[in-house]
């Protein structure tokens, strides 16, 4: 499908003065695509030139169209000397290649120079004419849509979810080529920017081909990353979920029974392309098979130390017998389900999904978090003949994840993501996800129409549509053949594994919601909170922070040292998360993201997640501190004061997050649950092992958490537990898409990026000292954010994701990108009141859940709970049963962590009154109103939606990479000034591109990379930033339009007010 690319240069404005004598500029423009270059005339002596050029036409292959960016260079004409470059604009024309996205790119683009930043703007028009070509052996994948959004995009429905796609390409980093010694920094930066642009184009094209091969037409949850491996090269890799999406046609009924193959953009997938693998690669980018590797023998030798996997919270070690345990004694239903799903997933190499939000009914059960890490040595030698590749590295990790999931009795991994951290030649590859059982319906062709009506996969905003969702859920579960359909709001909590052959010790109870299935006591996941989940109270951000010193070393020794440290770090991070979760009286984590960063002499670990109280899970117990040597009186006193503080904190947090677990249920008599079920409950309880019943009983009263202070470390840990400052009134925070418990967003939102770099001035610090510093640093950053955004109160910081890095010895860099969204206090209070009564989301649901809860305690509360023994089992209830129990042993011996001892019971029955909202500040929204200003307001958000708006069109993916360098750091206001203006410039360029595509917002925005390097002695600094997101057009939802999105999506009419207002 060759095409004709047409570009027109209209005008420029605010150009810099290039001729000091006249204070003016003689500007002209070079337009380059591939190897073809056109030039405009020189527009003499003006800072606002009007070129109004003819249409420059490039006749190119669609392969090139996908790979290459359009490169526009603005120059100053100089009669006697070489023309000076003013700056460049790279335009990715990919959005024009899809028939559904943008049709024209037209607008003002900032002219960017890697040394001077933005220097004026240029108005450009770009169009593409594609010719139809039925070449069967094509290399391009035009028409495949890409979405960064990790859910089914709003105005589409997923006809079919095909599964995991991945690809990586490798090249030499221009910065490390010999030529870099003689060329200017500008030329070097531009070469790098261009190369990365080419590589990501190529990567996208290749992924597109894979999608077409699978029969899909879109990639959702597209995650592209760069690994700057220094001398060993540059890796660009991407993962995503291939889907067949049908556009929801405005006006038509939502349940269009279009067969995926007849869907508009899917005709592209009819062309089989078997030859892809052998295809010659365009543009000199080496394929993944040429990636550098290290010698076979060393990899052999290191494979034990480097390539282990750590599986912490609710995850397992690759169990040998996991395959056997799965399904051995599982109930018939589960077996059936598993069989169905397995048949659907069997063919797939990796049943992974990068999605984090799912349509109702998609997710059947969640097992827990699975993760794997692997330490690798990057090789300096670029040997193309070596068989081991980056591909193989990732392959290993993915296999490991897959087997972890299997051990949890799950056949799929959702919320899957991959990351790397590189320090010198050591590279840690990490992958994590959530093991889950999926509804096979979505993965098989043919059965779509069966459930077509409830298959509207566009994710729904969590405002008042519970009723419909419930209905859908029930349809799906009955379809799955459950004799007693579990209520949809708790189904995902139920364990997927077999309760008698649990992959790890855990306390199981009957679901507090349906009372039929077993649930674990805590649930850790990497996905977003499912829309149907019943939550008590509000959620909050929970962070575990850890710093570990490491000796400086080189090569293998270094890799081994890091390998040895990793499991301890993961374990401690997990312990911290657990403690903090308990402290907040919550029982589930969503959106868990554990990041481990390597520096020369330290390792940083940061785990962030959103804690919630799932109504279906048992209430968490408090935290009990036990001293080891209770002889000393003052020591006892110390312990008791600490205990008091902890209890106070828990009580305070309950108030703060509005968590009032239904404890009053004990009074409820006369349960509405039919006898059949009750008897069934009893039966299964009696059938279960002693241990299980004991644990079960302990839930009536709860508390299974004892912290034993036996050394200074533990004291530190407990103190750090309490140092987390509470959020100021009016603020909430989470790192997921939406905050559980807040529903009435206003349209006021503010996306921001904050970066901080700290220098540790003194090298000989202890682990505790480092930990303290790191914790303070994160807490301070949060405090600053709250203060900055105080004008938005009441508001919630959503998608609050931290990225830590150790750019240099003794430097810690923390970057955070998030969005503050304000919500309406009045309606929120009303909603809270409703929620306080129970855990439901609307009145019907409310009643329902209360009845169930009532049942739960009445059946559960028969005997008095006694402090149940078995300290060992309690201790490991959330950590992992291990194949390599050796290192757990080691952990215990080292006593670096908090010990969890015997189970104790404390009754925490005081009912808390609803949180009095102290502040009543008037809501000042930061809504921007352009009054006559020619610049379109472009909103940006890391979330997949904008509150109170409707996304009507996806215009294509935004994926940009910028380098900025300065040799006059001081003059630009120091490092802060430099980075501040660079980030502002990046925002500006993203906005300009979106506006040029005709969009007014970026959703799922993220800053993938922010590499900052400075050399203050030379007055220099350099920064690389990679951002991505989806350009969209949204229209404002008028306030009275509170119809469920089922209808609103279908009625996507163009009559809505222009979104720019």
């Amino acid at each position: 499908m060759p095409g004709k690319l047409k570009a027109k240069i209209v005008a420029g404005r605010h150009l810099p003065v290039m001729d000091r004598a006249s204070d003016l500029t003689d500007a002209f423009v070079e337009v380059k695509f591939g190897n073809t270059t056109f030039k405009t005339d020189v527009y003499p002596k003006s800072l606002n030139p009007q070129w109004n050029s003819e249409w420059f036409k490039f006749e190119v292959d669609d392969e090139d169209l996908q790979d290459e960016p359009l490169q526009i260079t603005v120059l100053d004409h100089d009669t006697y000397s070489a023309n000076d470059a003013i700056g460049k604009v790279y335009i990715d024309i990919d959005p024009l290649l899809s028939s559904e996205a943008a049709t024209v790119i037209s607008g003002w683009f900032p002219i960017y120079d890697t040394i001077h930043g933005i220097r004026g703007e240029i108005n450009v028009l770009v169009k593409v004419d594609l010719f139809n070509d039925l070449n069967r052996f094509r290399q391009s994948s035009c028409g495949v849509k890409f979405f960064c959004t990790t859910s089914i995009p709003r105005c589409y429905r997923a006809a079919l979810v095909h599964g995991f796609v991945e690809e990586l390409v490798v090249n030499e980093d221009p910065e490390y080529q010999w030529i870099d010694r003689i060329r200017t920094p500008r030329a070097s930066n531009e070469a790098r920017q261009r190369l990365i642009s080419l590589m990501s184009g190529e990567l996208q094209r290749k992924i597109g081909l894979k999608v077409l091969e699978m029969g899909g037409n879109a990639v959702v949850g597209y995650l592209q990353c760069f690994d700057l491996e220094g001398e060993s090269g540059l890796v660009v890799r991407a993962i995503g979920t291939a889907c067949t999406l049908d556009k929801l046609i405005p006006g038509s009924a939502s349940n269009t029974n279009t067969h995926p193959n007849t869907a508009p953009a899917s005709n592209a997938c009819n062309s089989p392309s078997k030859e892809i693998k052998e295809s010659p690669l365009a543009h000199g980018c080496r394929s993944s098979h040429n990636s550098p590797v290290h010698s076979a023998c060393s990899s052999q030798r290191l494979s034990h130390s480097q390539n282990f996997s750590v599986s912490v919270p609710t995850l397992v070690f690759t169990g040998m017998g996991s395959g056997i345990s799965v399904g051995k004694e599982a109930g018939p239903l589960k077996t059936l389900l598993r069989q169905q799903a397995q048949s659907a997933l069997e063919q797939r190499e990796f049943p992974f999904f990068t999605l984090t939000c799912f349509p109702p009914g998609f997710l059947v059960h969640i097992g827990g978090v699975v993760s794997a890490r692997s330490v690798k040595l990057l090789d300096r030698i670029h040997n193309p003949d070596e068989p081991e590749t980056r591909d193989a590295w990732w392959e290993e990790i993915r296999q490991e994840i897959k087997s972890h999931a299997k051990a949890l009795g799950c056949h799929a991994v959702v919320g899957y993501s991959e990351s790397t951290t590189i320090c010198e030649e050591v590279c840690i590859l990490s992958a994590s996800g959530t093991a889950a059982m999926l509804n096979p319906r979505f993965m098989r062709e043919g059965c779509l129409d069966a459930g077509g009506s409830d298959q509207r996969l566009s994710r729904q905003p969590p405002l008042g549509m519970v009723g419909s969702e419930r209905a859908e859920g029930e349809v799906s579960s009955s379809w799955l053949g459950f004799d007693d359909a579990s209520p949809p709001s708790c189904g995902f909590c139920h364990i997927p594994y077999d309760e008698f052959n649990m992959p790890f010790p855990a306390q199981l109870t009957y679901c507090y919601h349906c009372r039929r299935q077993k649930v674990p006591d805590v649930l850790f996941t990497t996905i977003d909170l499912p829309a149907e989940a019943a939550v008590t109270g509000k959620g909050c951000l929970i962070q575990a922070r850890l710093c570990r010193t490491k000796k400086k070393a080189q090569g293998e020794v270094n890799a081994t040292a890091i390998s040895n440290l990793l499991p301890f770090m993961e374990y401690e991070l997990h312990t911290q998360l657990m403690n903090k979760l308990k402290l907040r009286c919550m029982n589930a984590l969503f959106g868990l993201r554990i990041q481990i960063s390597v520096g020369e002499n330290m390792l940083l670990g940061l785990a962030s997640a959103t804690g919630v109280y799932l109504s279906a899970l048992p209430a968490p117990g408090g935290i009990q501190i036990a001293g080891k040597t209770p002889s000393d009186l003052s020591y006892d006193q110390h312990i008791s004061t600490m205990q008091k503080r902890i209890n106070d904190t828990i009580a305070m947090n309950k108030e703060l997050y509005n968590i009032h677990p239904p404890e009053c249920i004990e009074e409820v008599v006369g349960s509405p649950i039919p006898d059949r079920q009750r008897s069934r409950l009893f039966r299964s309880t009696s059938e279960s092992s002693d241990e299980l019943s004991e644990l079960d009983l302990s839930h009536g009263k709860k508390d299974a958490f004892v912290l034993e202070i036996d050394d200074t470390d533990a004291v530190e840990d407990i103190q750090s537990l309490l140092t987390d400052a509470p959020m100021p009134a009016g603020f909430y925070s989470c790192n997921t898409e939406v905050m559980p418990g807040i529903y009435n967003w206003t349209s006021g939102l503010q996306m921001f990026t904050s970066v901080r770099v700290y220098r540790l001035n003194n090298a000989n610090l202890t682990n505790q000292g480092l930990n303290k510093i790191f914790t303070d640093l994160c807490e301070n950053l949060l405090k600053s954010l709250y203060f900055k955004l105080r004008s938005m109160i009441p508001c919630c910081l959503c998608h609050l994701n931290f990225t830590v890095a150790v750019p240099e010895e003794e430097l810690i860099q923390v970057a955070v990108t998030a969005v503050a969204m304000s919500f309406d206090k009045e309606t929120q209070l009303a909603a809270d009141k409703a929620l306080n009564k129970g855990s439901g989301e609307n009145e019907e649901q409310l009643q329902f859940s209360m009845e169930l809860c009532g049942e739960s305690t009445s059946s559960n509360n028969q005997p008095t709970a006694k402090p149940s023994g078995l300290p060992e089992s309690a201790m490991t209830h959330s950590s992992s049963r291990d194949r390599c129990s050796t290192w757990l042993e080691l952990l215990r011996l080292k006593a670096h962590t908090i010990r969890r001892g015997s189970v104790k019971t404390t009754s925490s029955s005081e009912r808390c009154s609803p949180l009095p909202e102290v502040r009543s500040r008037s809501l000042r929204s930061t809504r921007s109103l352009p009054c006559g200003a020619p610049v379109t307001v472009v909103k940006m958000t890391p979330l997949s939606f904008l509150p109170r708006t409707r996304i009507v069109k996806y215009l294509g993916i935004i994926n940009m990479f910028f380098i900025r360098e300065t040799t006059s750091l001081r003059e630009e206001g120091g490092v802060s000034g430099f980075l501040h203006s660079f980030i502002a410039e990046v925002f500006a360029m993203v906005r300009a591109h979106v506006a040029a595509l005709g969009g007014n917002a970026v959703v799922s925005y993220s800053m993938k990379e922010c590499v900052f390097m400075e050399n203050p002695n030379k007055n220099q600094a350099q920064c690389l930033i990679n951002v991505s997101g989806d350009a969209v057009i949204f229209v404002r939802e008028s306030d009275q339009e509170a119809i469920p999105p089922l209808i609103t999506c279908g009625q996507t009419s163009t009559t809505g007010a222009d979104g720019t207002t």
């Binding site: 603020f731 990026t753 301070n780 709250y786 105080r790 109160i793 930061t926 980030i983």
Partner: protein, 453 residues
């Protein structure tokens, strides 16, 4: 502020890291860092050797970089005012603390410092755009809501009238800029703020100096200012261009607003644009031709008949209506001569510059000596102007009206107001109602006053 540990280690400072401290070499500054308890005292060992600083450190960590960038640029207007006032970060933090910023959002001094530094940096980066406000609307770098843009511009161009009064009529040159530290000392406005205000005056002056059309509109178009502010700038530009003498001790009692009113009058009566709004000429300069023609008014004092006739007409109109009638009758010729001579001298640039001082010396002071009230002067000037129209032989009605328009309204304006009130605050003010000047003039005067004030 507490310093928890005091370990003095003279270290070679990498200057950019402590950029804010070192930019100002005079600074002996207390500098807080954002780590709790970590307080740094930076003091330059010698003002010149600013590379060597003494560092008192408490914790083993320092913040290298601290940046917050919002998609919509967050601007705290209270902090903006502190920045405009030319405060340093540490001073601004102190002010904010005094104003109770710490009570908000459980902030601590570190958070406040970080926020203030960040805001200051934002404003500094936006400053370039504020220099040409029309760019602010079309630039892409910062997404600033339109209403905030308006506030940003308006506040940036607002000035202290005390400062404006000091530079009023002075040449907006480098020489004047050098004297700013004196003005800063005198007025108590920080030097930084003085510089900004001065640069604003100069920038506006340079842009509109050569432009055609009405001055106020030009300023509004190019700087997007509000009407009142644009008028004030018009006055500053007008004074700077004609370089009117305002610094004399005798003129000290006049405020900037007094002069600004006069400038408005001068622009509307004595420039080319005043007579013919269609004419595409400048508002900035006084009309040369008109100033030359003012010589012709001399006939009013040189022609003895005309002068007598004039006096009779005025006296007839004022008899019994003003308390100082007797004195007026005696002094009429002197007063008339003073006003007319003033007019005839205006051909010389030097005399134009001295317009205000001459007016005060030749006309106002004698009146003040005779204890005229403002109302009396107004009444006198009204009749004095009108009476000239009745002189059969007087042919320069147009010029006369233009000339007296300024003088008349200037008199009833604050120009003399203050001084006269000061002198005559005990003397009873005659009620206006007892006077009956021609109705149309009174009306004109009223509407005029309403418009101008």
């Amino acid at each position: 502020m507490q310093i928890r540990y005091a370990v003095f280690t003279p270290i070679l400072c990498r200057t950019q890291r402590f950029n804010c401290a070192i930019n100002n070499t005079r600074l002996q500054m207390l500098f807080t860092q954002t780590v709790p308890g970590a307080i740094y005292l930076l003091a330059t060992v010698s003002p010149r050797l600013d590379r060597y600083i003494t560092l008192v450190k408490a914790y083993k960590m320092s913040m290298e970089l601290d940046v917050f960038v919002g998609n919509t640029t967050i601007m705290d207007m209270e902090v903006y005012q502190l920045w405009l006032d030319g405060l340093t970060v540490s001073d601004a933090v102190k002010v904010r603390m005094d104003e109770g910023a710490l009570l908000e959002c459980e902030a601590n001094p570190e958070v406040l410092t970080s926020d203030t530094m960040d805001q200051f940096r934002t404003f500094q980066m936006c400053e370039r755009l504020l220099h040409s406000p029309t760019k602010l609307g079309s630039q892409l770098l910062y997404q600033i809501p339109a209403q905030n843009q308006i506030i940003l511009i308006e506040r940036y161009y607002e000035f202290d009238s005390v400062f404006a009064r000091e530079v009023l009529g002075k040449k907006l040159s480098k020489g004047t800029k050098k004297d700013l530290d004196d003005i800063s000392c005198k007025t108590g406005i920080t030097l930084k703020s003085c510089r900004r205000q001065f640069d604003n005056f100069k920038r506006v002056f340079k842009v509109v100096e050569e432009l055609k059309g009405p001055l106020v509109e030009n300023i509004q178009r190019h700087f997007l200012l509000s009407d009142t502010l644009a008028r004030d700038y018009a006055a500053i530009v007008f004074f700077a261009n004609s370089r009117f003498e305002t610094g004399k001790r005798k003129l000290q009692y006049l405020s900037f607003q007094d002069f600004a009113f006069c400038a408005g009058q001068l622009i509307s009566y004595w420039t080319i644009g005043a007579m013919d709004s269609m004419m595409e000429d400048m508002d900035v300069d006084l009309e040369k031709e008109f100033l030359n023609e003012l010589k012709d008014l001399k006939v009013l004092v040189n022609d003895k008949d005309m002068m007598d006739q004039h006096k009779i007409l005025v006296c007839a109109a004022l008899r019994g209506k003003i308390k100082v009638y007797k004195l007026m009758e005696v002094n009429f010729k002197n007063l008339s001569r003073a006003l007319v001579n003033l007019a005839s001298k205006l051909t010389h640039t030097k005399d134009v510059r001295d317009l205000f001082i001459d007016l005060v010396e030749k006309f106002i002071e004698p009146c003040r000596y005779d204890r005229w009230t403002v109302a009396e002067i107004t009444l006198f000037l009204t009749h004095y102007t009108n009476a000239a129209h009745c002189l059969g032989t007087f042919r320069h009605q147009m010029i006369w009206d233009r000339y007296m328009g300024v003088i008349k309204s200037s008199q009833c304006s604050p120009l003399l107001h203050l001084s006269l009130i000061k002198v005559n605050y005990l003397s009873p003010t005659p009620s206006i109602s007892s006077v009956s000047p021609p109705v149309n003039i009174l009306n004109e005067l009223n509407t005029f006053l309403i418009c101008k004030l």
